[in-house]
Symmetry: C2
Subunit: 179 residues, 2 copies
């Protein structure tokens, strides 16, 4: 297997091989991703993905948590920023643009009384604002074209901008779930 | 300030005080949450939230990354599971239900060729499947009512199930973004 860490630090050999693999599978219907969440008590939760070190979610003390990790809505913003950064990196590399730095700041507003059950309404983000700073050796027009492409093809961006259908099932025979 | 860690490990005193604070502010328009993402090279990114220890995102080696952390779509699933777990915990506590365990498994399918630019379509999750195991000292009917309420009032769930408007700005004078 070829290892070729190219411009911007991506293993373009692996990525190219994966793209060729998918193109060679006419019955490809998508790649499944998973996460498991295990409650740790209070508002702290362990998030398990593949065999990676777990990550955590919690709430700030002012919201009744123990402030040991970012909360889920902050994690949505972080995941979106990271997805865009990966998009800039992948597509800049494909376009021969060398990046020196990428920084993305994201904010959103949550109407917490809806979560608290004090009123009806939208309990999450109806809007997200983000600012991208790209430091790269390319003209502004090229960066604007990159930016537009990345926003349009972001997996997290598409997930947020379009409605997701959720299929939720409560286990009928609850079992001990703590680790 | 009262500290009262109640059923299920929540600081109900702090949470109650926050709810009263919000109720006392007729001009409350929501609470702002933020995250900053700083590119680390390749597909690895640092996610900064408040003054917490940073978290990271990366891609698996097969997708050209260095496999040091979950990827952004996995983080979306994890954040959704954690949000639901926090919802079960908060609302079980409000209903006097003692939880012994909460475990949530989430999956979604991404059509990666859309991200790769090989075809048009939906680049993210159009559907998410999740299974919740609640271990609690309550009849199934009470858990089903809790489950329905939590799904309806989840901030991340609402963010995913409804379309989000994204306002993105590219900095016109790119600056060095690496730490």
């Amino acid at each position: 297997m070829t290892t070729s860490t190219g411009t911007n630090g991506i293993d373009t050999g692996a990525l190219g091989a994966f793209v060729e693999h998918v193109k060679s599978k006419p019955d490809y219907r998508g790649t499944t991703f998973s996460a498991d969440v295990v409650w740790q008590g209070g508002f702290r939760n362990e998030i398990r993905v593949r065999d990676l070190d777990p990550q955590y979610a919690d709430e700030p003390a002012v919201l009744g948590g123990t402030d040991t990790a970012s909360n889920p809505v902050e994690q949505i913003l972080g995941a979106y920023g990271a997805c865009l950064a990966i998009g800039y990196t992948a597509n800049a590399t494909a376009r021969g643009i060398e990046l020196r730095g990428v920084r993305i700041g994201l904010t959103g507003i949550v109407d917490l009384p809806v979560f608290f059950g004090l009123k009806d309404g939208h309990a999450g983000f109806s809007e997200i604002d983000l600012v991208v700073a790209l430091d790269a050796d390319a003209p502004l027009e090229a960066l604007e074209a990159l930016h537009a492409h990345v926003l349009r093809t972001s997996p997290v961006g598409n997930t947020l901008e379009r409605p997701v259908r959720v299929h939720a099932r409560l286990e009928e025979a609850p079992v001990a779930a703590a680790a």
